[in-house]
């Protein structure tokens, strides 16, 4: 079913694209859809292009796993549109014709500006392209059961067909189609979440395609004596103990015990056993394997496996069952004590375990404000998937997924993902850096939106500055509504108890699956068209920048319109192919993180020059060029020197030259400063003759 719906969505996108592509004739048709898109359609297309897979899957997942902190992205992503509407939209339309560099260069007519602006569009587009491509792969892997790279290749190929074939016209209508679908699906899911309400026993047990099985994790009462525990259960032995600092609360130590215990098994043919592991019948070949062995007791057969349990001493001491993925020193991977298989997969986690007394076990249907109030209540307890990774003395690498209980009042306020509060025993500098990191991200989101290349090109697809303003207002309405709905999708995913502890990105589709396979298939299909819509916009922006801005500077002679369109199509194919390669190469990168970086690069490279060109009369061409180049250079350099990249290179993150991950707080002011200093220093330089405006 998922595959069919998925193919239907891709076919619809291609149909929309092919139907509209015949209007993409000529240079105006290819690059700016003849500036004839009605403002209403342009506004929804803004939403369809802007709301990327990071907004849909990424934010829902972050809210489901980290509560309110995920919603901070929603707020930042929307707030940036204020700058776009009030400051950028109309002047951009009035001053430009094809690309952002047109508007920037109108006063100066300086080839260097065109070159720098074109370069900046190319860099930011590629930065933004990578997480979208990676997201496509992440999506198809569990949904269609095909490898990650196939998702990337499918997206790349479809987008090349859309952009190279139909240019901006097809891109616009594909984005319009996607924007409408995205709002419709988010609204439907929200209504379903409100109608179902919240219950403390909502743990769906059905299993379907693409999902992960549900399971009620067990608890064992224990007696604690020093570092050892006594379990009153036949055949159980404690093998190992491991204590780690809880990275979610900072000061509490988490203690895990590895228990060797027996699970019922029956002989399954001459050469294997079927064992009951975490609610599933798992087939094991032979009578023993790495970490497990068959045992007989009182004439019955069991499999002895080793599993990790978490010590909980908040009430009477007990061990709570967890899930663990263990990579042994010989490379063998075990999940929950047995080899991973279609039956032995990661189980879903999460849910609401307590509600305020007045609701009993279920709230029943609730209104939109009531649902958020229930989640923010201090008597509500949510169970969130948490993970910790460590190495054992035997050289195994163990990742434990456990459920962490949290009061609603903590879940629904900032602090879970961005640790902003000073913690006991934490050095003051750590608190300061955490805060700077957060401010830096919020700054980049606010200033980055209006400087994103695939947003900037959409001001040229409408006939007038008035239409540019109106379509931006439609965009704010649609995107604002969508981001409000993300809150419901996120908390709805927690309430459904259907979170995949290994990937937060699947939270929205899994929430949809808790309402049935059809909604699951549609949600997944829409998520995929979201990638197509955003990637089309990015490739279109890159195509315009190369064909219109860079080529003019490299060829240095007038280029015919036909040649420009041909170049645009070739660039679309090349950038699409580069996107495929990068999407496969960076498959392990965190999608949301990369998007945050793309905003920072866009804000640093483009926004200072845009604002100063409009509002500061002393701005010079040299100032603009310096600002763009320093903006790109400094933001990219700071990202490469950040703790996150440092640990990816294999070094200790604490020794990274740049102490925070988000570059915006340094690179944005630096770009502004460079613009002012260089402009003041070049006041007496002869400026190129302005074009008539």
């Amino acid at each position: 079913m998922t595959v069919v719906v998925f193919l239907v969505f891709v076919a619809l996108v291609l149909a929309v694209s092919s139907y509209t592509s015949r209007r993409a004739r000529g240079v105006g048709g290819y690059f700016v859809a003849n500036s004839s898109i009605p403002w209403g359609i342009n506004g929804i297309a803004f939403a369809g292009g802007y709301l990327s897979v990071a907004s849909f899957l990424g934010i829902c997942g972050l809210i489901a796993f980290f509560g309110y902190d995920g919603f901070l992205y929603s707020i930042g992503f929307l707030a940036g549109w204020i700058v776009a509407l009030f400051v950028i939209a109309e002047p951009m339309k009035r001053r430009g014709t094809f690309t952002f560099s047109d508007a920037l260069n109108r006063t100066f007519n300086h080839p260097g500006i065109q070159l720098a602006a074109g370069l900046s569009v190319l860099v930011v587009s590629l930065f933004y392209l990578v997480p979208q491509m990676v997201g496509a792969g992440v999506l198809v892997e569990p949904l269609l059961g095909i490898p990650h790279y196939w998702g990337v290749i499918i997206v790349g190929s479809v987008v090349i067909v859309i952009v190279a074939g139909g240019g901006m016209t097809s891109t616009t209508y594909v984005q319009f189609f996607n924007g409408g679908l995205l709002l419709l699906v988010a609204a439907t899911l929200t209504l379903a979440v409100l109608a179902r309400g919240v219950g403390t026993a909502d743990r769906p047990l059905e299993e379907g395609a693409g999902g992960v099985p549900s399971y009620q994790f067990r608890e064992l009462p224990v007696r604690v004596q020093g570092d050892s525990v006594e379990v009153a259960l036949d055949g159980v032995r404690t093998v190992d103990r491991h204590a780690v600092i809880d990275r979610y609360t900072g000061d509490e130590a988490l203690v895990f015990y590895r228990l060797s215990h027996l699970v019922p098994a029956v002989s399954d043919g001459p050469d294997g056993y079927a064992a009951d592991i975490k609610g599933r019948t798992v087939r094991l070949d032979g009578t023993s394997g790495p970490g497990w062995s068959v045992e007989s007791r009182d004439g019955r057969q069991f499999v002895r496996i080793e599993e990790w349990w978490r010590l909980d001493t908040t009430g009477p001491p007990r061990l709570v069952e967890t899930q663990a993925r263990t990579v042994r020193s010989d490379g063998e991977v075990l999940l929950n004590g047995a080899p991973e298989s279609p039956a032995n997969r990661i189980r879903q986690m999460g849910g609401v375990s307590a509600l305020p007394a007045r609701y009993g076990e279920r709230t029943g249907s609730v209104g939109p404000l009531r649902l958020l109030a229930v989640f923010a209540d201090r008597d509500t307890v949510v169970q969130l998937p948490r993970a910790t990774t460590f190495s054992t003395a035997a050289g195994e690498r163990v990742t434990i997924h456990y459920e962490g209980a949290l009061s609603g009042s903590t879940f629904m306020r900032p602090g879970l993902m961005f640790p902003l509060e000073a913690r006991a025993g934490e050095p003051g500098i750590t608190t300061l850096l955490n805060r700077l990191n957060f401010i830096s991200l919020m700054l980049a989101l606010f200033f980055g939106t209006s400087a994103l290349p695939h947003i900037l090109i959409r001001y040229y697809t409408v006939p007038s500055a008035d239409a540019a303003r109106k379509s931006t207002i439609v965009a704010i309405g649609g995107i604002g509504l969508f981001y409000i709905l993300t809150m419901y999708l996120g908390v709805g995913a927690v309430a459904s108890g259907a979170l995949n502890p290994e990937t937060s990105n699947m939270s929205a589709p899994l929430l949809a699956r808790s309402f049935g396979e059809i909604l699951f298939a549609i949600t997944s299909g829409v998520a995929f068209t979201t990638v197509l819509a955003t990637v089309s916009g990015l490739i279109m922006a890159a195509s315009g920048a190369v064909a219109h801005d860079l080529m003019a500077n490299i060829v240095r002679r007038p280029v015919s319109d036909t040649a420009k369109v041909r170049a645009g199509r070739i660039v679309a194919v090349v950038v699409g192919l580069v996107g495929i390669v990068l999407g496969i190469a960076f498959r392990d990168m965190n999608v949301s993180f990369l998007v945050g970086w793309a905003f920072a690069v866009a804000a640093s490279a483009n926004l200072p020059s845009l604002l100063f060109m409009l509002f500061w009369k002393k701005t010079t061409a040299q100032g603009i060029i310096a600002s763009i180049l320093v903006g790109i250079g400094s933001s990219v350099a700071l990202i490469l020197l950040s703790p996150d990249m440092w640990s990816r290179y294999g070094f200790d993150a604490a020794t990274a030259p740049m102490p925070i991950n988000q570059p915006g707080i340094v690179s944005i002011p630096l770009s502004f400063l460079v613009l002012v200093i260089v402009s003041l220093a070049t006041q007496n330089r002869p400026q190129p003759v302005p074009r008539n405006s």
């Binding site: 309110y68 204020i82 009030f86 014709t97 109030a373 902003l420 957060f438 008035d466 409000i484």
Partner: protein, 97 residues
């Protein structure tokens, strides 16, 4: 710089631009207040505010709704005044310079 007296269209553009900048600054202040509260007084964000919601949710949703309201107000203020021929819509049909 241009010393001639501005046309009605140009002065309307300037007025719009001035309104836009003021509204951006006002919104930036509200946004900065939100970021500052989250960073320096996160505990306050848990305090109950409107409709049984805490301050974090009220302020966050408020910022989104305020953006939509500001957009609508700005659009009202940007309506073409009587007597301004052609309004602000510099038509560029055909996508050619």
């Amino acid at each position: 710089m241009d010393q001639r007296s501005p046309t009605p269209d140009e002065s309307f553009e300037r007025r719009k631009s001035a309104i836009g900048i003021r509204m951006t600054l006002l919104y930036s202040l509200v946004y900065a207040g939100f970021v500052a509260l989250s960073v320096f007084q996160p505990a306050w964000m848990g305090v109950r505010a409107l409709f049984g919601l805490n301050l974090a949710v009220t302020y966050g949703l408020g910022l989104i709704i305020l953006a939509i309201l500001f957009a609508l107000i700005y659009n009202q203020l940007c309506r073409v005044p009587n007597g301004s021929a052609g309004g602000s819509g510099a038509q560029t049909k055909g996508g050619r310079p």
